[in-house]
């Protein structure tokens, strides 16, 4: 098998195949990066809305809670199909990449909103009381007191989710998006040995996710709230 793989190497790493893999890697990276950034931003916003107490915001809180609880419970593939068919029913002419991107953003937002909510709630309530009696607004309390203390709780599961999430973007291949998993399948269909193809795909996924995990660890230490840095 190794001899066969060695024989395949020159044609496998041809210029066009490398370009094909690079494009697929770019797609996986774009889906993951945009999903992470949008998911983190919107997830934070949704978590902050869920923790408000003002009666006027109750409808918004209910909507946010429904969104979060619903999309955390639906498999990614189902969300992907849902987005695909909803846009099709609306006659919206969206590319497959856009459909996949919307799906990953929806899923990432729902999961991160829940991680952030539990992280913010883990900060002792006496910190909220102290901020309230010092006349901090809700947003000042979050920004100056609660979020800086919650980072240490929020970041490990968020980056754990990001790493899982990069792998989940492989499901976008189901609707024809040419990302890493799709590229692997295509190359395998072209006749290259599965071990060589998926070994390469494995390394590319690792190359994407390992630096992200290290970055998470760095942020965790950097943003630790006290002397225990």
């Amino acid at each position: 098998m190794f001899a066969q793989m060695l024989n395949e190497l020159p044609s496998f790493f041809s210029y066009y195949n490398l370009l094909f893999f690079a494009k697929a890697l770019g797609t996986t990276f774009a889906l993951s990066a945009i999903g992470c950034i949008v998911g983190f931003t919107l997830g934070f916003a949704l978590a902050a809305i869920r923790l408000t107490t003002h009666p006027a915001l109750t409808p918004l809180r209910v909507a946010v809670t429904l969104f979060t609880e619903l999309f955390r419970r639906i498999p990614f593939l189902v969300t992907l199909m849902l987005v695909f068919f909803v846009f099709q029913a609306m006659n919206a002419d969206l590319g497959m990449f856009t459909v996949a991107l919307i799906s990953v953003c929806v899923i990432a937002t729902a999961f991160i909103a829940e991680i952030v909510r539990s992280g913010l709630e883990s900060v002792h309530h006496n910190q909220w009381d102290a901020a309230a009696t010092l006349n901090f607004s809700y947003w000042q309390t979050l920004r100056l007191v609660v979020v800086p203390q919650a980072w240490k709780i929020i970041l490990p599961p968020v980056f754990g989710f990001f790493v899982l999430f990069i792998k989940d973007t492989a499901l976008a291949s189901q609707i024809g998006v040419v990302e890493l998993a799709f590229a692997g399948k295509t190359m395998n269909n072209k006749g290259f040995s599965a071990a060589l193809v998926y070994g390469t795909v494995l390394m590319l996924y690792f190359a994407l996710s390992y630096p992200l995990a290290r970055f998470g660890k760095y942020l965790e230490t950097r943003l630790a709230p006290t002397r225990n840095r």
Partner: protein, 245 residues
């Protein structure tokens, strides 16, 4: 005119009434101590006064002005005129001692950083914490944290200070360093509400002692009256028990 008037105040936790028919006047410079068994409503009264638990009925007047706890702007006024020091200090764990004391005047009141820091350093020196400006709360003893909490409350220049069992969480040998700080405030003429189980201290500093039980004010009077000649049987029972120990 009393600096603080509490008129027929009532508060609930859910369906359970925790304070009822609270009527109390506090003159400027008075030190009012709230005593009573656990669960009698002393700390709850302070939480209600700070708007952490909105009252169901009754009202609170500061300098003759009736303040509505449901109105956000008036709640801000209440919290700018009164400051509370909590039993568990409640210092912001992500901030240094100096940041804890300066954050509200700078971020909430928008006062110049330099001016606020100079005043904060003066206050921290006054409470004996001038050498710990860059320390984080978890690097300090309980007594030190409590003194920083007192400086933080003073930094907003409140008219009335509420001290909620400020020595209850401290080791016995740290109690005095906090009580000395409170004595300093008393000597400056600060109006204070003190919830405390340190009866010797209550007797020493209070202009008025209020005995509470079951969410009601049972009796109030001078320290001498409450401790030496209580009028109510429940007060006599409580004072008799605590003075025996």
């Amino acid at each position: 005119m009393p600096q603080l008037e509490i008129v027929d105040l009532k508060a609930n936790y859910g369906a359970h009434t925790v304070l009822e028919r609270i009527n109390l006047n506090v003159e400027k410079g008075e030190i009012v101590s709230l005593i009573g068994p656990s669960g009698s409503g002393k700390s709850t009264l302070l939480r209600v006064l700070m708007g952490l638990l909105p009252p169901i009925s009754g009202n609170v007047r500061i300098d003759g002005q009736v303040l509505d706890y449901k109105n956000v702007h008036q709640l801000r006024t209440i919290r700018s005129r009164m400051a509370i020091v909590f039993q568990q200090y409640n210092l912001f764990q992500n901030m240094t001692v100096l940041e804890n004391v300066t954050v509200a005047p700078i971020k909430v009141k928008g006062r110049p950083r330099r001016e606020v820091e100079d005043y904060a350093i003066h206050l921290l020196e006054k409470v004996g914490m001038g050498g710990k400006l860059k320390a984080y709360p978890d690097q300090l003893s309980g007594g030190q944290q409590q003194r920083v909490a007192i400086a933080r409350a003073l930094a907003l220049q409140p008219g009335i200070m509420l001290l909620d069992e400020v020595t209850a969480a401290l080791d016995p040998e740290l109690v005095n360093e906090v009580l000395d700080t409170v004595r300093l405030l008393a000597a400056d003429g600060m109006t204070m509400f003190i919830v405390s189980h340190e009866m010797g201290f209550v007797r020493e500093v209070s202009s008025k002692v209020v005995f509470m039980d079951g969410g009601h004010v049972v009796e109030m009077g001078s320290a001498q009256q409450i401790f030496d000649a209580p009028q109510q049987a429940r007060t006599r029972e409580f004072v008799g028990k605590i003075l025996r120990h």
